[in-house]
Amino acid sequence: MASIELQNPARSVDTHGHDHHDDHDHEEGTFLTKYIFSQDHKTIAKQFLISGIIWAILGGTLSSLFRLQLGFPDMDMSILKPILGGWIEDGKLNPEFYLAMVTMHGTIMVFFVLTAGLSGTFSNFLIPLQIGARDMASGFLNMLSYWFFFASSVLMLWSMFIETGPAAGGWVIYPPLSALPQASPGSGTGMTMWLFSMALFIVSSLLGSINYVSTVINMRTKGMTFSRLPLTIWAFFFTAIIGILSFPVLFSAALLLLFDRSLGTSFYLSEIYINGEALPNMGGSPILFQHLFWFLGHPEVYIVILPALGITSEIIAVNSRKPIFGYKAMIGSIMAITLLSFIVWAHHMFVTGMNPFLGSIFMFLTLIIAIPSAVKAFNYITTLWRGNIVFTPAMLFSIGLVSFFISGGLTGVALGNSAIDIQLHDTYFVVAHFHLVMGSAAFFGMVAGVYHWFPKMFGRMMNEKLGYLHFWMTFVGIYCIFFPMHYTGIAGFPRRYYSFTSYDTFKTFGDLNAFISTAAIITFFAQFILVFNFFYSIFRGRRAPMNPWRSNTLEWTTPVNPGHGNWVGEIPHVFRWPYDYSKPGAEEDFIMQTVPYSATTSSNLDGEVDPVEESLTKVHA
């Protein structure tokens, strides 16, 4: 591997002769400023990642617990009493607590793991490294972004330990259930804390997103035009834009809900009679909340999946040793998805009593968004075609992601059809659909990113064999969990049900539910292979070479353990796009972005000449 470093001409071109020139603040500062209140994007990324891992373990634990209830409804759960205390009554899980766990699982996974843990980690880590910047546009705001997230995490975690329990109305917190403390214990203090926690989370997300966008626009190195950005950056860029435009709407929805809860307003409340009392609220509309919620909620799905798709695009190209097929089409589809993601939200609301005409419009718009998604899937497959594929754990997870994205995305075509959705809405078919297409796919993107960029993060390699074991257990496991759920969905099983035994219609499928639960719990425990590998490798992994995956992008031109400021000496210039893999006529099967065309005359295509000095300066000006 060491030979790669020597063969990499980028270093000889750009970094020599500028020794320790911009390196002043690295390795200085106290423990506090270096690891806790750090403004270094790499440290902040690691903070997001490790917080995300902790949240993922918690979210996974909750799902294992409620899967126990669903798979083995007759089970005696007294053994869990030391952990769950009063939530276990006579060996049975409390139904209110079941809902609380479902709610927290959704909230944690969607926001804390797949938004903060994914975007927070990889946007922060990769944007400066891959565009050639010393750090984010504002390191201070970036630090604030993490600490707002931390505060939000503390509040959310705290809400799980209060007497009335955390929020329990589903992660969508539809009022009036979430607005009326008398409607359910979870709508009391737990709900208030949920709302405050989410408000902090939104602040964190906005601070992060604004930083990502301004960094990508303003801080690219010389020669790094937009058309030379790796697809990761394109994905992070549009994800941040979606976040900036949609999260404020959730913020206002949450604010109005707080007003309804505490100040006696009637934004979402009307004509309610509860616990023997008629409430004075008139004229509000619960549907208004749903519109506001899903105006974020649907783009949120793309906030979760786009970074994962960006990461996969990069990893699949690197490990197929081929340029990503249809680079421009990939960017185009990200743009199309971004645009469309704002105008499909009401497909979550076909049967809410919304005007059926609106339903028709949203069905049409929803099925349009399937087209750019399909293009992405086909492009991934074509990138694999006639490649020279190296199966790193990251590559395995990326191929897994494409599989989930296809199989979960396809059922979206059924659900997006409002006529079909009448029967399938809020059944396990939906659960299966979104767990595959956004849950598991985004999770795989995140894990792939961890395996791929771990050497850059910690200067060491993760254990590959453990990675393989982790992948195959998880891949098989996830299909065993979610594939059968389609069938319970077709049989009409509603989601968020504590038990199905009171219905004749839903009495079937007991053995299948037990199977799903077993698969879920095994898959959950398989994740500890990753956790072990991760923490073990931080300390004991093999030392990483400079460019372990023989990749083209800029982050692999930094030292193995980059300090604050990333590059020693001048930031390298960029001369080409990031996907010159296996170019005919080239010596190696990769040419880094920092290699000028003048150094690769044998492989240049028509029109590939180095810019004259003036056009280089134009890019920077």
Binding site: A183, F325, P356, S360, M363, N388, F483, D504
Partner: protein, 362 residues
């Protein structure tokens, strides 16, 4: 116990660490780590083919096996249309699923790393991209168009002669009100809700005098039925799986769903071979800890049975004459008349059923 678990975990970690260490040493010893891709690469490539067999095989097997659990053919007119849509869509999707996965999992096997081969530099092909943009677009347009036709037919206004049933969701059961013999549902006012008048019937409206509450839903077969749906406290959702019917119940915003049931309960008993068969209504919008228990029985009668049942129901006022107090003075007479009428019809209905059973025994 606690310390035992902690000790066990630490031991497990140490053993895992040692094993990993040993494995890394073996890798270094056999020099497999210095190669760009070794045996592991071949194994992983092969496993994708194994996985392909597993997932396609599993898909086919579970689709056959789970068939016995699918809901029986739809018991409503529109349900047949949406079922057809669903299965047509799913067939198309299954083909795409199988084809894409064959490609996705065989390519890794075929094109796995070989030292002496170079990948094909193939960055773009506009014609290919055009094809796979246009084909999904066409297929999706057809699906949307069909979906839109069915959706419009389902959501158009209910016919005038539809049998009206009011369903009111509350924590944690459904309340059912019928319009009575005048076939006109009386107004409601949530402020009038109390222990007995659970749906807030407004007795200032004379249409409400003969309204009656029922413990289960009865509807006639082959007649349009209109569910008027609302909620008393939080969101609920009416889900009648056999009719492919679902509509949220929203406090402050009445919703509706109309349909034509095509199979009586006794028809379904024959079809399913289950003598205990009952139609059910479930709640599908999370509404609190009792959400999973909001079951309501629904019976589809033939026309005569429904008429007889409808006539035998005591009106709310007849059952609870105290509520005459809420009737405005000028309407008190018609209200009393309505009670008398109701007593007459219910009495006649009782007579009818009695005489029928007597006729049967003879």
């Amino acid at each position: 116990m606690f310390y035992l678990i902690i000790t066990a975990l630490i031991l497990l970690l140490v053993v895992a660490g040692l094993l990993v260490r040993a494995q890394v040493l073996i890798d270094i010893f056999t020099k497999s780590s210095s190669k760009r891709a070794g045996l592991s690469n071949q194994i992983n490539g092969f496993l994708f083919v194994v996985f392909l067999v597993f997932i396609i095989g599993g898909f086919v097997w579970i689709s056959m096996w789970a068939r016995k659990y699918y809901l029986p053919d739809s018991a409503s007119v529109h349900g047949v249309w949406t079922d057809k849509q669903f299965w047509v869509t799913m067939s198309i999707l299954s083909v795409v699923f199988v084809v894409t996965h064959i490609l996705l999992f065989t390519f890794p096997y075929i094109y796995q790393f070989k030292e002496n081969r170079k990948a094909l530099f193939y960055p773009v092909n506009h014609r290919l991209e055009f094809i796979w943009t246009v084909i999904p677009a066409i297929v999706l347009s057809l699906l949307v168009f069909n979906g839109w036709k069915v959706w419009s037919a389902i959501t158009k206004e209910a016919p005038e002669n539809a049998v009206v049933v009011e369903l009111v969701g509350k924590q944690f059961n459904w309340l059912v009100r019928y319009p009575g013999q005048d076939k006109k549902l009386g107004k409601h006012n949530y402020l009038k809700t109390d222990e007995l008048n659970t749906v807030g019937i407004d007795f200032t409206d004379r249409n409400s005098f003969d309204d009656y509450m029922a413990g289960e839903v009865h509807i006639p077969v082959n007649k349009p039925v209109l569910f008027k749906i609302r909620a008393r406290d939080v969101l609920h959702s009416v889900f009648a799986p056999h009719f492919r019917l679902k509509m949220d119940a929203v406090p402050g915003m009445p919703t509706k769903f109309w349909f034509i049931p095509t199979k009586t309960t006794s028809d379904m008993k024959t079809i399913t071979g289950n003598p205990e068969f009952t139609y059910e209504i479930a709640c599908t919008e999370v509404c609190g800890p009792g959400h999973f228990g909001m079951r309501m029985k629904l019976v589809v009668d033939d026309e005569d049975e429904f008429d007889a049942w409808n006539k035998s129901q005591q009106s709310f006022l007849a059952k609870n004459p105290d509520y005459l107090k809420s009737v405005p003075d000028n309407l008190r007479k018609p209200a009393l008349q309505s009670i008398v009428e109701n007593k007459k019809t219910t009495g006649l209905a009782v007579l009818n059923t009695l005489s029928k059973s007597v006729a049967k025994t003879n």
